[in-house]
Protein backbone atom coordinates (compact mmCIF):
# COMPACT_ATOMS: atom_id res chain seq x y z
CA UNK A 1 0.00 0.00 0.00
CA UNK A 2 2.87 2.34 0.86
CA UNK A 3 4.43 1.71 -2.55
CA UNK A 4 1.11 2.42 -4.25
CA UNK A 5 0.74 5.71 -2.40
CA UNK A 6 4.37 6.57 -3.09
CA UNK A 7 3.95 5.86 -6.79
CA UNK A 8 0.78 7.95 -6.86
CA UNK A 9 2.53 10.91 -5.20
CA UNK A 10 5.40 10.60 -7.65
CA UNK A 11 3.18 10.53 -10.74
CA UNK A 12 1.14 13.51 -9.55
CA UNK A 13 4.08 15.60 -8.27
CA UNK A 14 5.97 15.16 -11.53
CA UNK A 15 2.78 15.98 -13.41
CA UNK A 16 3.17 12.73 -15.36
CA UNK A 17 -0.57 12.28 -14.81
CA UNK A 18 -3.25 14.58 -13.44
CA UNK A 19 -5.55 11.92 -11.97
CA UNK A 20 -4.95 8.55 -10.38
CA UNK A 21 -7.92 6.22 -10.32
CA UNK A 22 -7.67 3.75 -7.46
CA UNK A 23 -9.59 2.65 -4.40
CA UNK A 24 -10.41 4.27 -1.08
CA UNK A 25 -12.18 3.25 2.09
CA UNK A 26 -15.93 3.48 1.46
CA UNK A 27 -18.90 3.29 3.81
CA UNK A 28 -20.13 0.32 5.84
CA UNK A 29 -16.84 -1.52 5.40
CA UNK A 30 -16.79 -1.36 1.60
CA UNK A 31 -13.96 -0.19 -0.63
CA UNK A 32 -14.83 2.04 -3.58
CA UNK A 33 -13.33 3.73 -6.63
CA UNK A 34 -11.42 6.94 -5.86
CA UNK A 35 -10.08 9.79 -7.98
CA UNK A 36 -6.86 11.27 -6.63
CA UNK A 37 -5.78 14.57 -8.14
CA UNK A 38 -3.17 15.88 -5.69
CA UNK A 39 -0.23 14.19 -3.90
CA UNK A 40 -1.63 15.05 -0.46
CA UNK A 41 -4.72 12.92 -1.17
CA UNK A 42 -2.63 9.88 -2.05
CA UNK A 43 -2.67 8.50 1.48
CA UNK A 44 -6.38 7.76 1.20
CA UNK A 45 -5.60 5.10 -1.41
CA UNK A 46 -6.02 1.51 -0.32
CA UNK A 47 -5.64 -1.88 -1.96
CA UNK A 48 -6.97 -5.13 -0.52
CA UNK A 49 -9.40 -7.97 -1.29
CA UNK A 50 -12.36 -5.60 -1.18
CA UNK A 51 -11.04 -3.62 -4.15
CA UNK A 52 -12.98 -5.51 -6.78
CA UNK A 53 -14.50 -2.86 -9.07
CA UNK A 54 -13.17 -3.00 -12.61
CA UNK A 55 -11.67 0.50 -12.81
CA UNK A 56 -11.12 0.23 -16.57
CA UNK A 57 -14.73 1.37 -16.89
CA UNK A 58 -13.60 4.93 -16.06
CA UNK A 59 -11.11 5.04 -18.94
CA UNK A 60 -13.79 5.37 -21.60
CA UNK A 61 -16.33 7.48 -19.73
CA UNK A 62 -14.86 10.80 -20.86
CA UNK A 63 -15.61 12.55 -17.58
CA UNK A 64 -12.26 14.31 -17.62
CA UNK A 65 -11.09 17.10 -19.94
CA UNK A 66 -9.59 15.80 -23.17
CA UNK A 67 -5.91 16.29 -22.36
CA UNK A 68 -6.00 14.77 -18.88
CA UNK A 69 -3.47 12.01 -18.33
CA UNK A 70 -4.82 9.26 -16.11
CA UNK A 71 -3.09 6.58 -14.11
CA UNK A 72 -5.18 3.58 -13.16
CA UNK A 73 -4.61 1.04 -10.42
CA UNK A 74 -4.91 -2.23 -12.30
CA UNK A 75 -5.71 -5.63 -10.87
CA UNK A 76 -5.50 -8.53 -13.35
CA UNK A 77 -9.06 -8.07 -14.73
CA UNK A 78 -8.35 -4.35 -15.23
CA UNK A 79 -5.17 -5.17 -17.18
CA UNK A 80 -7.10 -7.57 -19.42
CA UNK A 81 -9.82 -4.94 -19.93
CA UNK A 82 -7.19 -2.38 -20.94
CA UNK A 83 -5.72 -4.76 -23.51
CA UNK A 84 -9.17 -5.46 -24.95
CA UNK A 85 -10.06 -1.76 -25.06
CA UNK A 86 -6.72 -0.96 -26.69
CA UNK A 87 -7.18 -3.73 -29.26
CA UNK A 88 -10.54 -2.14 -30.09
CA UNK A 89 -8.82 1.24 -30.50
CA UNK A 90 -10.61 2.80 -27.52
CA UNK A 91 -7.58 3.96 -25.55
CA UNK A 92 -4.78 6.36 -26.35
CA UNK A 93 -1.63 4.95 -24.81
CA UNK A 94 -0.14 8.44 -24.47
CA UNK A 95 -2.77 9.40 -21.94
CA UNK A 96 -2.90 6.31 -19.76
CA UNK A 97 -0.44 5.01 -17.18
CA UNK A 98 -1.11 1.62 -15.68
CA UNK A 99 -0.10 0.86 -12.10
CA UNK A 100 -0.32 -2.93 -12.12
CA UNK A 101 -1.04 -4.91 -8.97
CA UNK A 102 0.20 -8.49 -8.93
CA UNK A 103 -1.76 -11.36 -7.37
CA UNK A 104 0.34 -10.99 -4.21
CA UNK A 105 -0.50 -7.26 -4.09
CA UNK A 106 2.84 -5.88 -5.31
CA UNK A 107 3.19 -2.96 -7.69
CA UNK A 108 4.16 -3.79 -11.25
CA UNK A 109 5.71 -1.07 -13.40
CA UNK A 110 4.59 -1.25 -17.02
CA UNK A 111 6.46 0.64 -19.72
CA UNK A 112 3.62 0.43 -22.20
CA UNK A 113 0.58 -1.62 -23.20
CA UNK A 114 2.80 -4.23 -24.90
CA UNK A 115 4.44 -4.74 -21.53
CA UNK A 116 1.00 -5.47 -19.99
CA UNK A 117 0.27 -7.86 -22.83
CA UNK A 118 3.51 -9.75 -22.08
CA UNK A 119 2.71 -9.89 -18.36
CA UNK A 120 -0.81 -11.21 -18.98
CA UNK A 121 0.48 -14.00 -21.20
CA UNK A 122 2.85 -15.15 -18.46
CA UNK A 123 -0.09 -15.81 -16.12
CA UNK A 124 -2.47 -18.74 -15.87
CA UNK A 125 -5.26 -17.83 -18.30
CA UNK A 126 -7.40 -20.94 -18.09
CA UNK A 127 -10.91 -20.76 -16.66
CA UNK A 128 -10.88 -21.65 -12.98
CA UNK A 129 -12.53 -24.89 -11.81
CA UNK A 130 -15.16 -22.71 -10.07
CA UNK A 131 -15.98 -20.91 -13.31
CA UNK A 132 -16.15 -24.20 -15.21
CA UNK A 133 -18.42 -25.73 -12.56
CA UNK A 134 -20.86 -22.81 -12.83
CA UNK A 135 -21.14 -23.22 -16.58
CA UNK A 136 -21.31 -27.01 -16.41
CA UNK A 137 -24.27 -26.69 -14.05
CA UNK A 138 -26.19 -24.70 -16.68
CA UNK A 139 -24.97 -26.92 -19.53
CA UNK A 140 -26.26 -29.99 -17.68
CA UNK A 141 -29.83 -28.63 -17.77
CA UNK A 142 -32.24 -29.78 -20.47
CA UNK A 143 -33.29 -27.11 -22.93
CA UNK A 144 -36.64 -26.74 -21.11
CA UNK A 145 -34.96 -26.44 -17.72
CA UNK A 146 -32.53 -23.86 -19.05
CA UNK A 147 -35.35 -21.85 -20.61
CA UNK A 148 -37.25 -21.90 -17.32
CA UNK A 149 -34.10 -20.95 -15.40
CA UNK A 150 -33.41 -17.88 -17.52
CA UNK A 151 -37.06 -16.89 -17.71
CA UNK A 152 -37.15 -16.85 -13.94
CA UNK A 153 -33.93 -14.86 -13.63
CA UNK A 154 -34.75 -12.36 -16.40
CA UNK A 155 -38.28 -11.77 -15.08
CA UNK A 156 -36.73 -10.13 -11.99
CA UNK A 157 -34.71 -7.60 -14.03
CA UNK A 158 -35.96 -3.99 -13.84
CA UNK A 159 -33.50 -2.64 -16.41
CA UNK A 160 -31.45 -0.31 -14.24
CA UNK A 161 -28.56 -1.12 -16.60
CA UNK A 162 -26.04 -1.38 -13.76
CA UNK A 163 -24.61 -4.37 -15.69
CA UNK A 164 -24.02 -2.13 -18.70
CA UNK A 165 -22.70 0.81 -16.71
CA UNK A 166 -20.22 -1.31 -14.74
CA UNK A 167 -18.81 -3.11 -17.79
CA UNK A 168 -15.66 -1.61 -19.35
CA UNK A 169 -16.55 -3.22 -22.70
CA UNK A 170 -19.97 -1.48 -22.79
CA UNK A 171 -18.56 1.82 -23.99
CA UNK A 172 -20.91 2.64 -26.88
CA UNK A 173 -22.01 6.27 -26.76
CA UNK A 174 -25.40 5.13 -28.03
CA UNK A 175 -26.31 1.68 -26.75
CA UNK A 176 -28.62 -0.34 -28.99
CA UNK A 177 -31.25 -0.29 -26.25
CA UNK A 178 -31.28 3.53 -26.17
CA UNK A 179 -31.57 3.74 -29.94
CA UNK A 180 -35.14 4.73 -30.82
CA UNK A 181 -35.18 5.47 -34.54
CA UNK A 182 -36.06 2.68 -34.96
CA UNK A 183 -36.62 1.20 -31.53
CA UNK A 184 -34.64 -2.03 -31.88
CA UNK A 185 -35.02 -3.21 -28.31
CA UNK A 186 -38.26 -3.09 -26.37
CA UNK A 187 -37.87 -0.52 -23.57
CA UNK A 188 -40.13 -1.81 -20.76
CA UNK A 189 -38.74 -4.42 -18.37
CA UNK A 190 -41.40 -6.98 -19.19
CA UNK A 191 -40.56 -10.51 -20.29
CA UNK A 192 -39.87 -9.65 -23.91
CA UNK A 193 -37.97 -6.46 -23.10
CA UNK A 194 -35.76 -8.22 -20.60
CA UNK A 195 -34.98 -11.11 -22.95
CA UNK A 196 -34.16 -8.70 -25.76
CA UNK A 197 -31.82 -6.73 -23.52
CA UNK A 198 -29.97 -9.64 -21.96
CA UNK A 199 -29.57 -11.54 -25.24
CA UNK A 200 -28.32 -8.38 -26.93
CA UNK A 201 -25.92 -7.67 -24.09
CA UNK A 202 -24.55 -11.20 -24.19
CA UNK A 203 -24.16 -11.21 -27.97
CA UNK A 204 -22.48 -7.80 -28.06
CA UNK A 205 -20.00 -9.02 -25.46
CA UNK A 206 -19.58 -12.48 -26.99
CA UNK A 207 -15.88 -13.24 -26.83
CA UNK A 208 -15.11 -9.65 -25.74
CA UNK A 209 -15.90 -10.34 -22.09
CA UNK A 210 -12.73 -10.72 -20.04
CA UNK A 211 -14.59 -12.45 -17.20
CA UNK A 212 -14.31 -9.93 -14.36
CA UNK A 213 -17.93 -10.67 -13.26
CA UNK A 214 -18.51 -6.97 -12.62
CA UNK A 215 -21.94 -7.16 -14.35
CA UNK A 216 -23.45 -9.55 -11.84
CA UNK A 217 -21.66 -7.89 -8.93
CA UNK A 218 -23.13 -4.53 -9.93
CA UNK A 219 -26.62 -6.02 -10.33
CA UNK A 220 -28.72 -4.98 -7.33
CA UNK A 221 -30.90 -8.03 -7.91
CA UNK A 222 -28.02 -10.52 -8.09
CA UNK A 223 -28.89 -11.82 -11.55
CA UNK A 224 -26.19 -14.31 -12.62
CA UNK A 225 -25.80 -12.67 -16.03
CA UNK A 226 -22.02 -13.09 -15.91
CA UNK A 227 -22.68 -16.73 -16.80
CA UNK A 228 -24.00 -15.76 -20.23
CA UNK A 229 -20.91 -13.86 -21.28
CA UNK A 230 -18.60 -16.37 -19.62
CA UNK A 231 -20.20 -19.24 -21.52
CA UNK A 232 -19.83 -17.32 -24.79
CA UNK A 233 -16.16 -16.62 -24.00
CA UNK A 234 -15.61 -20.35 -23.49
CA UNK A 235 -17.40 -21.21 -26.74
CA UNK A 236 -15.47 -18.64 -28.72
CA UNK A 237 -12.20 -19.82 -27.29
CA UNK A 238 -13.11 -23.38 -28.28
CA UNK A 239 -14.41 -22.52 -31.75
CA UNK A 240 -11.96 -19.82 -32.81
CA UNK A 241 -9.06 -20.04 -30.36
CA UNK A 242 -9.70 -16.41 -29.42
CA UNK A 243 -9.68 -15.04 -25.87
CA UNK A 244 -10.28 -11.40 -25.03
CA UNK A 245 -7.72 -9.41 -23.06
CA UNK A 246 -4.68 -11.33 -24.20
CA UNK A 247 -3.57 -9.67 -27.42
CA UNK A 248 -3.27 -6.09 -28.62
CA UNK A 249 -3.15 -7.11 -32.26
CA UNK A 250 -5.20 -10.27 -32.81
CA UNK A 251 -8.50 -9.21 -34.38
CA UNK A 252 -11.73 -9.98 -32.56
CA UNK A 253 -12.97 -13.43 -33.59
CA UNK A 254 -16.51 -12.47 -34.58
CA UNK A 255 -15.55 -9.57 -36.83
CA UNK A 256 -12.81 -11.37 -38.73
CA UNK A 257 -12.82 -13.33 -41.94
CA UNK A 258 -10.06 -15.82 -42.58
CA UNK A 259 -9.70 -17.45 -46.00
CA UNK A 260 -8.54 -20.67 -44.35
CA UNK A 261 -11.56 -20.91 -42.02
CA UNK A 262 -12.15 -24.52 -41.05
CA UNK A 263 -15.86 -24.19 -41.82
CA UNK A 264 -16.62 -24.79 -45.48
CA UNK A 265 -19.86 -22.80 -45.61
CA UNK A 266 -18.08 -19.51 -45.20
CA UNK A 267 -15.29 -20.04 -47.71
Amino acid sequence: MDKLRQKTKELLSNNEVQIVVGYEEGTAGKARPAFISSPDQADTLIYDDRCIHNLAVYLTQHKLPGNTKIAVVASFPVMKSIITLASEKQLDENFIRVIGISKDNNIIEFKDFADIERYINQQDLTFTPEEQALIEKIDAMSMEERWAYWQNEFSRCFKCYACRSACPMCYCTLCITDFNQPQWVSVPSHKQGNFEWHINRAMHLAGRCIGCDECSRACPLDLPINLLTKKLSMDIQKQFGYSAGQSLTEPYALSTYKPDDKETFIR
Binding site: R32, K63, S165
Partner: protein, 343 residues
Protein backbone atom coordinates in the same frame (compact mmCIF):
# COMPACT_ATOMS: atom_id res chain seq x y z
CA UNK B 1 -40.99 6.75 27.49
CA UNK B 2 -44.41 5.88 28.74
CA UNK B 3 -46.68 2.91 29.07
CA UNK B 4 -49.68 3.08 26.75
CA UNK B 5 -52.59 0.90 25.81
CA UNK B 6 -52.36 -1.09 22.61
CA UNK B 7 -54.26 -3.82 20.87
CA UNK B 8 -52.34 -7.09 21.13
CA UNK B 9 -51.83 -9.50 18.25
CA UNK B 10 -50.22 -12.71 19.41
CA UNK B 11 -47.82 -14.48 17.09
CA UNK B 12 -49.98 -17.61 17.11
CA UNK B 13 -52.91 -15.57 15.75
CA UNK B 14 -51.05 -14.61 12.58
CA UNK B 15 -51.99 -17.71 10.53
CA UNK B 16 -55.68 -17.11 11.23
CA UNK B 17 -55.35 -13.41 10.34
CA UNK B 18 -53.57 -14.17 7.04
CA UNK B 19 -56.23 -16.79 6.20
CA UNK B 20 -58.95 -14.21 6.80
CA UNK B 21 -57.23 -11.62 4.65
CA UNK B 22 -56.75 -14.11 1.82
CA UNK B 23 -60.36 -15.35 2.13
CA UNK B 24 -61.61 -11.76 1.84
CA UNK B 25 -59.90 -11.40 -1.53
CA UNK B 26 -56.79 -9.52 -0.40
CA UNK B 27 -53.39 -10.08 -1.95
CA UNK B 28 -50.79 -10.07 0.82
CA UNK B 29 -47.21 -8.90 0.30
CA UNK B 30 -44.86 -9.78 3.15
CA UNK B 31 -41.11 -9.78 3.80
CA UNK B 32 -39.98 -13.35 3.09
CA UNK B 33 -36.56 -14.84 3.87
CA UNK B 34 -34.72 -15.95 0.75
CA UNK B 35 -31.30 -17.32 1.58
CA UNK B 36 -29.48 -14.61 3.48
CA UNK B 37 -31.76 -11.88 2.15
CA UNK B 38 -35.33 -10.84 2.80
CA UNK B 39 -37.53 -9.62 -0.05
CA UNK B 40 -41.23 -8.79 -0.32
CA UNK B 41 -43.28 -11.47 -2.01
CA UNK B 42 -46.92 -12.45 -2.39
CA UNK B 43 -48.05 -14.91 0.26
CA UNK B 44 -51.44 -16.53 0.78
CA UNK B 45 -50.69 -17.99 4.20
CA UNK B 46 -48.58 -17.05 7.18
CA UNK B 47 -45.32 -19.00 7.39
CA UNK B 48 -42.15 -18.94 9.45
CA UNK B 49 -40.29 -17.63 6.42
CA UNK B 50 -41.99 -14.27 6.97
CA UNK B 51 -39.27 -12.21 8.60
CA UNK B 52 -40.21 -9.52 11.14
CA UNK B 53 -36.61 -8.78 12.09
CA UNK B 54 -35.18 -7.83 8.71
CA UNK B 55 -33.36 -4.54 8.35
CA UNK B 56 -34.19 -3.68 4.75
CA UNK B 57 -35.16 -5.37 1.49
CA UNK B 58 -33.37 -4.59 -1.80
CA UNK B 59 -36.61 -3.56 -3.49
CA UNK B 60 -39.42 -1.54 -1.99
CA UNK B 61 -43.12 -2.16 -2.50
CA UNK B 62 -43.37 0.85 -4.82
CA UNK B 63 -44.12 -1.63 -7.57
CA UNK B 64 -47.52 -2.45 -6.05
CA UNK B 65 -48.75 1.11 -6.70
CA UNK B 66 -46.40 2.13 -9.52
CA UNK B 67 -45.52 -1.05 -11.44
CA UNK B 68 -42.23 -1.19 -13.34
CA UNK B 69 -44.31 -1.90 -16.45
CA UNK B 70 -47.98 -0.86 -16.62
CA UNK B 71 -50.32 -0.98 -19.58
CA UNK B 72 -52.33 2.26 -19.78
CA UNK B 73 -54.63 1.31 -22.65
CA UNK B 74 -54.89 -0.61 -25.91
CA UNK B 75 -55.44 1.23 -29.17
CA UNK B 76 -56.78 0.20 -32.53
CA UNK B 77 -57.08 2.29 -35.63
CA UNK B 78 -58.15 1.88 -39.22
CA UNK B 79 -58.44 4.43 -42.02
CA UNK B 80 -61.47 6.17 -40.55
CA UNK B 81 -61.41 5.67 -36.82
CA UNK B 82 -59.22 5.17 -33.78
CA UNK B 83 -60.51 3.46 -30.66
CA UNK B 84 -59.07 3.23 -27.19
CA UNK B 85 -59.71 0.28 -24.93
CA UNK B 86 -59.24 1.30 -21.29
CA UNK B 87 -57.81 -1.14 -18.78
CA UNK B 88 -60.32 -2.62 -16.35
CA UNK B 89 -59.72 -0.71 -13.11
CA UNK B 90 -62.16 -2.97 -11.29
CA UNK B 91 -59.65 -5.81 -11.69
CA UNK B 92 -56.87 -4.00 -9.79
CA UNK B 93 -55.82 -6.02 -6.75
CA UNK B 94 -56.77 -5.22 -3.16
CA UNK B 95 -53.32 -5.35 -1.61
CA UNK B 96 -52.33 -5.67 2.00
CA UNK B 97 -48.70 -4.64 2.38
CA UNK B 98 -47.58 -6.45 5.51
CA UNK B 99 -44.55 -5.68 7.64
CA UNK B 100 -42.94 -2.83 5.76
CA UNK B 101 -40.96 -0.39 7.86
CA UNK B 102 -42.07 3.18 8.70
CA UNK B 103 -39.71 4.61 6.04
CA UNK B 104 -41.49 2.59 3.35
CA UNK B 105 -44.92 3.51 4.69
CA UNK B 106 -43.92 7.19 4.67
CA UNK B 107 -42.80 6.79 1.03
CA UNK B 108 -46.42 6.65 -0.13
CA UNK B 109 -46.77 10.36 0.76
CA UNK B 110 -44.31 11.70 -1.85
CA UNK B 111 -45.61 9.17 -4.40
CA UNK B 112 -49.15 10.35 -3.76
CA UNK B 113 -48.20 14.03 -3.91
CA UNK B 114 -46.37 13.50 -7.21
CA UNK B 115 -49.07 11.45 -8.89
CA UNK B 116 -51.76 14.03 -8.09
CA UNK B 117 -49.59 17.14 -8.51
CA UNK B 118 -50.54 18.57 -11.90
CA UNK B 119 -52.60 15.60 -13.08
CA UNK B 120 -54.54 12.88 -11.28
CA UNK B 121 -52.87 9.63 -12.26
CA UNK B 122 -55.87 7.32 -12.19
CA UNK B 123 -53.70 4.20 -12.24
CA UNK B 124 -51.70 5.11 -9.15
CA UNK B 125 -54.68 6.61 -7.34
CA UNK B 126 -56.81 3.50 -7.93
CA UNK B 127 -54.03 1.23 -6.73
CA UNK B 128 -53.26 3.24 -3.61
CA UNK B 129 -56.96 3.42 -2.71
CA UNK B 130 -57.10 -0.38 -2.75
CA UNK B 131 -53.95 -0.70 -0.63
CA UNK B 132 -53.82 -1.32 3.11
CA UNK B 133 -50.46 -0.66 4.74
CA UNK B 134 -49.50 -2.66 7.81
CA UNK B 135 -46.27 -1.08 9.03
CA UNK B 136 -43.72 -2.68 11.34
CA UNK B 137 -41.57 -0.60 13.71
CA UNK B 138 -37.85 -1.24 13.45
CA UNK B 139 -36.02 -3.24 16.08
CA UNK B 140 -32.75 -3.04 14.12
CA UNK B 141 -30.99 -0.72 11.71
CA UNK B 142 -27.70 -0.68 9.81
CA UNK B 143 -25.16 1.95 8.75
CA UNK B 144 -27.24 2.87 5.68
CA UNK B 145 -30.45 3.70 7.58
CA UNK B 146 -31.04 7.43 8.09
CA UNK B 147 -34.80 7.84 8.57
CA UNK B 148 -34.30 10.03 11.65
CA UNK B 149 -32.32 12.52 9.51
CA UNK B 150 -35.31 12.96 7.18
CA UNK B 151 -37.67 13.43 10.13
CA UNK B 152 -39.12 9.92 10.12
CA UNK B 153 -38.95 7.78 13.23
CA UNK B 154 -38.43 4.00 13.21
CA UNK B 155 -41.70 3.79 15.17
CA UNK B 156 -43.69 6.27 13.10
CA UNK B 157 -47.18 5.35 11.98
CA UNK B 158 -47.28 8.00 9.24
CA UNK B 159 -48.36 6.31 6.01
CA UNK B 160 -49.42 3.09 7.76
CA UNK B 161 -53.03 2.07 8.26
CA UNK B 162 -51.95 -0.22 11.10
CA UNK B 163 -48.60 -0.12 12.86
CA UNK B 164 -47.13 -3.20 14.52
CA UNK B 165 -44.34 -3.17 17.08
CA UNK B 166 -42.89 -6.49 18.13
CA UNK B 167 -42.52 -6.85 21.90
CA UNK B 168 -40.08 -9.07 23.76
CA UNK B 169 -42.56 -11.97 23.85
CA UNK B 170 -42.56 -11.94 20.04
CA UNK B 171 -46.15 -10.64 19.89
CA UNK B 172 -47.24 -7.39 18.28
CA UNK B 173 -48.40 -4.16 19.88
CA UNK B 174 -50.99 -2.90 17.40
CA UNK B 175 -51.96 0.69 16.64
CA UNK B 176 -54.98 1.20 14.41
CA UNK B 177 -54.23 4.43 12.57
CA UNK B 178 -56.80 4.83 9.79
CA UNK B 179 -60.24 3.66 8.74
CA UNK B 180 -58.67 1.10 6.44
CA UNK B 181 -56.79 -0.22 9.45
CA UNK B 182 -60.02 -0.32 11.42
CA UNK B 183 -61.62 -2.42 8.64
CA UNK B 184 -58.90 -5.05 8.98
CA UNK B 185 -59.31 -5.01 12.75
CA UNK B 186 -63.11 -5.30 12.51
CA UNK B 187 -62.73 -8.26 10.17
CA UNK B 188 -60.75 -10.22 12.76
CA UNK B 189 -61.62 -8.62 16.10
CA UNK B 190 -61.54 -11.95 17.96
CA UNK B 191 -57.82 -12.34 17.17
CA UNK B 192 -56.84 -9.15 19.00
CA UNK B 193 -56.44 -8.59 22.72
CA UNK B 194 -55.45 -5.61 24.83
CA UNK B 195 -52.11 -4.80 26.43
CA UNK B 196 -50.31 -1.99 28.26
CA UNK B 197 -46.72 -1.64 27.20
CA UNK B 198 -44.04 0.85 26.17
CA UNK B 199 -43.38 0.47 22.44
CA UNK B 200 -40.42 2.82 22.52
CA UNK B 201 -38.47 0.26 24.51
CA UNK B 202 -38.46 -2.11 21.52
CA UNK B 203 -37.37 0.45 18.95
CA UNK B 204 -33.89 0.85 17.54
CA UNK B 205 -32.27 4.26 17.80
CA UNK B 206 -31.24 5.52 14.36
CA UNK B 207 -28.64 8.25 14.80
CA UNK B 208 -29.43 11.59 13.19
CA UNK B 209 -26.81 12.61 10.63
CA UNK B 210 -28.09 16.03 9.57
CA UNK B 211 -30.93 18.49 10.10
CA UNK B 212 -33.34 18.22 7.15
CA UNK B 213 -34.58 21.82 7.20
CA UNK B 214 -30.98 23.04 7.35
CA UNK B 215 -30.07 20.84 4.39
CA UNK B 216 -32.97 22.25 2.43
CA UNK B 217 -31.78 25.80 3.13
CA UNK B 218 -28.18 24.87 2.39
CA UNK B 219 -29.12 23.53 -1.05
CA UNK B 220 -30.71 26.83 -1.99
CA UNK B 221 -28.19 28.45 -4.30
CA UNK B 222 -26.04 25.33 -4.60
CA UNK B 223 -26.59 24.85 -8.33
CA UNK B 224 -23.03 25.77 -9.29
CA UNK B 225 -21.38 24.24 -6.21
CA UNK B 226 -18.15 22.35 -6.93
CA UNK B 227 -19.18 19.35 -4.82
CA UNK B 228 -21.53 17.92 -7.46
CA UNK B 229 -18.63 17.05 -9.72
CA UNK B 230 -16.44 15.80 -6.88
CA UNK B 231 -19.21 13.58 -5.50
CA UNK B 232 -20.25 12.15 -8.85
CA UNK B 233 -16.82 11.20 -10.19
CA UNK B 234 -17.23 7.52 -9.36
CA UNK B 235 -20.94 7.38 -10.32
CA UNK B 236 -21.22 5.07 -13.33
CA UNK B 237 -24.62 6.40 -14.39
CA UNK B 238 -26.84 3.35 -13.92
CA UNK B 239 -30.37 3.46 -12.55
CA UNK B 240 -29.93 1.13 -9.57
CA UNK B 241 -30.50 3.93 -7.02
CA UNK B 242 -33.67 5.13 -8.72
CA UNK B 243 -35.12 1.66 -9.24
CA UNK B 244 -34.74 0.54 -5.65
CA UNK B 245 -35.91 3.95 -4.36
CA UNK B 246 -39.41 3.87 -2.84
CA UNK B 247 -40.10 7.48 -3.87
CA UNK B 248 -38.56 7.90 -7.35
CA UNK B 249 -41.33 8.40 -9.88
CA UNK B 250 -39.68 9.04 -13.26
CA UNK B 251 -41.33 7.09 -16.03
CA UNK B 252 -41.28 6.69 -19.78
CA UNK B 253 -44.24 6.15 -22.10
CA UNK B 254 -43.84 3.59 -24.85
CA UNK B 255 -46.20 2.47 -27.57
CA UNK B 256 -45.82 -1.21 -28.34
CA UNK B 257 -47.32 -2.88 -31.38
CA UNK B 258 -47.95 -1.33 -34.76
CA UNK B 259 -49.48 1.95 -35.92
CA UNK B 260 -52.83 0.17 -36.23
CA UNK B 261 -52.94 -1.88 -33.08
CA UNK B 262 -51.03 -1.91 -29.85
CA UNK B 263 -50.70 -0.76 -26.26
CA UNK B 264 -49.41 2.32 -24.51
CA UNK B 265 -47.13 1.38 -21.64
CA UNK B 266 -45.82 3.33 -18.66
CA UNK B 267 -42.44 2.04 -17.49
CA UNK B 268 -39.78 3.12 -14.99
CA UNK B 269 -37.08 5.52 -16.09
CA UNK B 270 -34.29 7.33 -14.25
CA UNK B 271 -32.89 10.85 -14.29
CA UNK B 272 -29.47 9.23 -13.82
CA UNK B 273 -29.46 7.93 -17.39
CA UNK B 274 -27.62 10.04 -19.95
CA UNK B 275 -30.47 9.86 -22.46
CA UNK B 276 -33.19 10.84 -19.98
CA UNK B 277 -33.09 14.50 -20.97
CA UNK B 278 -31.80 14.14 -24.52
CA UNK B 279 -33.82 16.39 -26.84
CA UNK B 280 -34.82 15.44 -30.37
CA UNK B 281 -32.51 18.22 -31.57
CA UNK B 282 -29.55 16.38 -30.07
CA UNK B 283 -29.14 18.94 -27.29
CA UNK B 284 -28.91 17.48 -23.80
CA UNK B 285 -29.47 19.94 -20.92
CA UNK B 286 -27.96 17.43 -18.48
CA UNK B 287 -24.96 16.37 -20.45
CA UNK B 288 -22.74 15.14 -17.66
CA UNK B 289 -23.16 12.72 -14.76
CA UNK B 290 -22.49 15.49 -12.25
CA UNK B 291 -25.49 17.44 -13.58
CA UNK B 292 -27.58 14.30 -13.26
CA UNK B 293 -26.36 13.63 -9.71
CA UNK B 294 -27.19 17.23 -8.79
CA UNK B 295 -30.65 16.77 -10.24
CA UNK B 296 -31.21 13.66 -8.11
CA UNK B 297 -30.32 15.47 -4.89
CA UNK B 298 -32.00 18.79 -5.67
CA UNK B 299 -35.19 17.10 -6.85
CA UNK B 300 -35.57 15.15 -3.62
CA UNK B 301 -34.37 17.75 -1.14
CA UNK B 302 -35.16 21.08 -2.78
CA UNK B 303 -37.65 20.98 -5.65
CA UNK B 304 -40.10 18.52 -4.09
CA UNK B 305 -40.40 20.24 -0.70
CA UNK B 306 -40.72 23.60 -2.49
CA UNK B 307 -43.39 22.46 -4.96
CA UNK B 308 -45.36 19.65 -3.38
CA UNK B 309 -44.47 20.20 0.29
CA UNK B 310 -42.93 16.79 0.83
CA UNK B 311 -39.34 15.58 0.73
CA UNK B 312 -38.46 12.91 -1.82
CA UNK B 313 -36.46 10.75 0.56
CA UNK B 314 -37.45 8.56 3.49
CA UNK B 315 -33.98 7.49 4.61
CA UNK B 316 -34.44 3.79 3.84
CA UNK B 317 -30.85 3.62 2.55
CA UNK B 318 -31.71 1.32 -0.36
CA UNK B 319 -29.94 3.47 -2.98
CA UNK B 320 -26.72 3.38 -0.99
CA UNK B 321 -26.83 -0.36 -0.35
CA UNK B 322 -27.59 -1.07 -4.02
CA UNK B 323 -25.02 1.29 -5.55
CA UNK B 324 -22.28 -0.69 -7.32
CA UNK B 325 -19.72 2.04 -6.46
CA UNK B 326 -20.82 3.09 -2.95
CA UNK B 327 -22.48 6.41 -3.77
CA UNK B 328 -23.76 6.77 -0.22
CA UNK B 329 -26.57 9.31 -0.10
CA UNK B 330 -26.46 10.19 3.61
CA UNK B 331 -22.66 10.53 3.45
CA UNK B 332 -22.96 12.95 0.52
CA UNK B 333 -25.73 14.94 2.23
CA UNK B 334 -23.69 15.16 5.41
CA UNK B 335 -20.72 16.43 3.39
CA UNK B 336 -22.92 19.05 1.72
CA UNK B 337 -23.92 20.28 5.19
CA UNK B 338 -20.25 20.74 6.05
CA UNK B 339 -19.71 23.17 3.16
CA UNK B 340 -20.45 26.78 4.07
CA UNK B 341 -23.30 28.04 1.95
CA UNK B 342 -22.40 30.01 -1.21
CA UNK B 343 -18.74 29.15 -0.84
Amino acid sequence: MATENYKLLKKESLPALFDKLTASGKTIYAPVKKGDKTEFDVVTKYSNDINDEYIQTVQSLKETVFPKVEKLFDYKSDKTDTSIQEVDFSKFPQNVLWGLHPCDAAAFRPLDATFRWDYDDKYFLTRIKLTTVVGLSCSKHDDYCFCSSVDISPASGDGSDILLTKNKAGDYLVEIITEKGQEVYDMAKELFGEISDDKESYITDVPKKFELSELNKNLDGSFEAPYWLAQSMRCIGCGACAYVCPTCTCFDLQDEGSANKGSRIKCWDSCGFGHFTLHTSGHNPRETQSQRWRQRILHKFSYMPDRIKVFGCVGCGRCSRACPVDMNLSEHLTKIMEVPKHE
